[in-house]
Structure formats: C-alpha cells, structure tokens
Symmetry: C2
Subunit: 293 residues, 2 copies
C-alpha cells in the first residue's frame, strides 16, 4: 500500500510517501510561501506516486467538522496569506484519494501514540505539546483524536504570571496571559533580543518559560488524565524539559499518583522529527475503506 503525508508548517511542508505502517519511502521539503505556489508544488510531488490515501497535519486553526461548508480550510491563522485557505479541496481534486485532515499537533500525537503501541506499550491516551514558533497540543484518547466541537486549542490555556515576568506584555493578540503568548519561541526574542536556541541555559528566562509550560501540563493532567505527555517543538530540549519536570512536580504537590516524571513527560520518541509523518501515514491508511486497522 502507498499512502502520503503532509506535515504543513508555517515555514515548510514536509511531504512523504510510505506504507500503512508508517515506513517512509520518499520525502521532500517544500517551503511555505503562498497557498497557490506551495499547494501546486505539493500536488506535483504526490502526482509522481500512485497514492491510495493522504494524511494531512497542518498548522491551524482548521475547520475539521465535515458538516461545515469550509471543512478542510485553514481558517483565522495569523499567517495572513493562508487565512481561509481551502487546503483539502485542491488536493482532493488533483489526487482523487481519501484524505485524513487534522492539526499538526494531532498528527504528532497520533504518530507518538502509534510508536508507543509498536514498541509494546499499553497506552490508551497520549498528549503531544509543541513549544516552538507556535504553541499547541493535540491528544489521542482511547485511540481516537480528541476534539468534537473543533480541535483542541491547548496553546491558549491561561497561565498565571511568573513573579519575575509581570512586565512582559505577551504576544497573543487574544489573551494577555495564555501559554502561546508567554512561552512561544518569539517570546524569547521579545524578552532577550535573541532566539530561544541562542539563549544560554542558565538564563533566568528558562525558569519563567518552564513555569508556564508546567502549568499547562498540570491543567492537561487534571482534566484529561492521559497516560503520557510528549513535548516537542523548536525550543524543546532535554535541559528545558528537565526544568519543566521540576516545576510540574512543585505545582502538583503530591496530589496525584503519576508515573515517574521521566516517563510521564517525555521528548518525542519517533526519530528525526517524524512524529507527524508517522501519524499521517497511518491515519491515511485508515481512510481506505478495505483497510483493517
């Protein structure tokens, strides 16, 4: 079986072709420019293969309700050129295959969930947070992607200010005090004048960031009770995660019995930033009516 995957990000599209187990056979990176240009190049790539289905995990927000007229659109994204862009429509027209359509973080959550199952773990739920240029979360609950009324918007959970961060205005146009507004990649630049990757690990800004991410993880834990939370994204790394685990432990204050935090709060387990691609390929295969998944 040959299925396709698009991981659509704000700077690049990672397009891949593989099988129903998520094994990648070919891959290409296309820069994210205008919808017309990028989608044309994407279609041209996949037309080289005899795909049976396609899985798309895109930056959002998205319309994921098939009952809505604009199903398959990227909606009110801050990336202006892509606002109200029909994403699924042109691909469906050009490729004529079933398409699975969800958010980038849902695709990653699904890939990490499938990876855990493949290594023999008995997880029934998993949350995936990305902390990068954008911040967001997706989840698999009892094997299904979370989100009835729409996809989760975990990047916008409210957080309480760190006492040393009261003067920072935040960068979310909707909320003064949400996770993305206070702990996304661009907030490093706004606070320190440097991108997160260049900020020294002993800079106090990491403590502030860790406090915000830990709050979001605590809220997610109390509300969802997942088996595991994976943390990915451009500014995530082991030292940052270690600080987050410490803050999380302090905030939880022994209230719940959780797995060891090294196990509960993890970096992505799929190699080479491939979580979403893996999830997409398996979701794509599940779109094919005869597939026994």
């Amino acid at each position: 079986m040959l299925v396709g995957s698009i991981e659509a990000g704000g700077t690049k599209f990672v397009c891949a072709v593989g099988n129903e187990h998520g094994t990648v056979q070919d891959q290409i990176v296309i820069p994210t420019t205008t919808p017309q240009e990028t989608l044309e190049q994407t279609v041209a790539y996949f037309q080289r293969f005899k795909l049976q289905a396609l899985g798309i995990a895109s930056f959002g927000p998205l319309e994921i309700d098939p009952q809505q007229k604009n199903y398959g659109y990227i909606t009110n994204t801050p990336k202006l050129a892509w606002q109200n862009t029909d994403f699924v429509g042109p691909l469906k027209q050009a490729l004529a295959v079933p398409i699975a359509w969800t958010t980038d973080v849902n695709g990653s959550a699904y890939g990490e969930y499938q990876q855990a199952l493949a290594t023999g773990e008995q997880l029934s739920s998993l949350v995936y947070y990305t902390i990068g240029t954008g911040v967001g979360g997706g989840a698999v609950i009892n094997g299904q992607l979370l989100g009835s009324a729409g996809h989760p918007e975990m990047g916008h959970v409210l957080v309480k200010r760190h006492p040393n961060d009261l003067d920072f205005s935040g960068i979310c146009p909707y909320h003064h005090d949400c996770l993305e507004g206070l702990a996304s990649g661009p907030t490093f630049l706004a606070r320190t004048g440097k991108p997160g990757t260049e900020v020294a690990l002993n800079d106090p800004v990491w403590e502030i960031m860790s406090y915000y991410v830990a709050q979001a993880l605590l809220q997610t834990t109390l509300i969802l009770r997942p088996n595991r939370i994976i943390l990915g994204g451009g500014v995530m790394g082991l030292e940052f995660l270690q600080k987050i685990r410490q803050q999380f432990k302090k905030l939880l204050n022994g209230y719940l019995t959780l797995p060891a935090l090294d196990d509960y709060l993890q970096l992505p387990q799929v190699a080479g930033n491939g979580s979403a691609t893996l999830g997409n390929l398996i979701m794509a295969a599940q779109q094919i009516p005869m597939t026994i998944s």
Copy 2:
C-alpha cells in the same frame, strides 16, 4: 431488566432500582455514616430486588484501574472514615452481579449525555462540573468516560486569583490556588460566615466565584473542545450560571467559535438531581454481557 444505581455522596447515598433505559422504579436515601453501616444498609436495600447489574458513582478519589489491587476502593478522601475503603468488594460479594464503578461526576456526565441523546441531540462529548461541598468534573468523550491513568481531577485545576480575593487563604490542603480550594461551597462560609445558599445574589463574592469557575470552564474548553458543559451541584443556580457565562465570554475574548453560551454552558437537564442515577442505570445495563447497548 432490573439494574441498580448508587450515587454515593459525602452526606447521603441515593440508591435506586430501574431498567436499562434509566427509568427509576424504586429509590431510597441512606445517610453516609461509617462505611460498615452505610454499605450494610445499601446491600440490604438491593437484596430486596433481583438485580442483574449495578452502577456506582461515588465521591472520590477512587481507584478505577482494574489492574490495581485496590480497584473499587475510595482512596485518599478527606472524609477520614472512608479513606481506603473497599466499596465494590462488599457489594460484589453480597449481590454477585457485574458492577460499573466510577466517580460521581462521571456518572452525572454519563446521565446527562444519555439524556441529550434521548432527546435527539447529536452530541459526541459532554463535560459535567459540580460546584458544591466538593468541586469536580467528569466527561464523556466519543461516548466513553474520560480517564486512562485515573479519573479526571478537574476540581483541582489551577486558577488565577481575583484581584479582590488575594487575602483568602483557600481551603485545599494541596493547592493554594485551585478551583475547589477557592470556589467550593465551604469557601462561602469561610469568606462570608454564611453558607452559599444564604448569600445574597448581589454579594460581590459571587463575582469572585464566577471568575474562578469560568477559568476552569475555559481551560476545559481549550483542552477538550467538548460539545457542552453542564454545571450542577449544591451552590449552582441560574443566576450564578449567568454570571459564569459573562466571565467566560470575557476570558474567551472571541478566540473560538462556540455554540451560544446559553446552550454551551447549561444546568442539568435530567430532572430531580437524577443525572447520576440515570447514568448509573445505563452503565449498569451495559455491564451485562448479553446487552446490546
């Protein structure tokens, strides 16, 4: 078919017998005293009927993982006499029927979800919050109760202090600033010297309470994206709910397109505080192997 329901609260057990559609045929209230006394009276009541299954929705925290040795126990409840009490065991031994076992709020969520389905609504998810002596939340997602690693603990989500409530110390022994610690029934007494039911509706404490509840509802909305949230419990009422809707709207700040708030945030629709009993009876029926649910 004859099935039983126990809604086990901190002050009383509501025990009922009914059919698989949730129609109640007999009901009794037993005061919550010691585990031995209350459970004996409960068993004696159900022994008068030929039950085929039993559904229990209990105050918690509970062990709900069947893999654990203490499955079916109430665990570290602040109600000291009931700490580490085997609840399911004695009932199973005495009645020898399959037992569904979950939290009070999960039972209520399931009842309200079934009620919505019965009136022809197409909900795939629903959250139930109780604001009373205790505060907590349960959820049905894609028809199933939420909670893999354990049941949700929505009563302990972190909230940001209302500027006029900075001096109140909160009543949760684990967290200074969680929902239960700042917005449960006993906090009315602690703040005003009066129980919530006697506090005038124009008292500013209602604004403070509404702010906290609205924060929890916003976090739940962003993380779960449910179709609906039901608010029940001893201090809930239409005026309080109306204040909560206003605060929720302010906090959301137009970020998401939700159903009208009168529809999205509702009081319980099952009459006579019967949400959990309805949910329990249907859950009980689903325990019977031959039932097609």
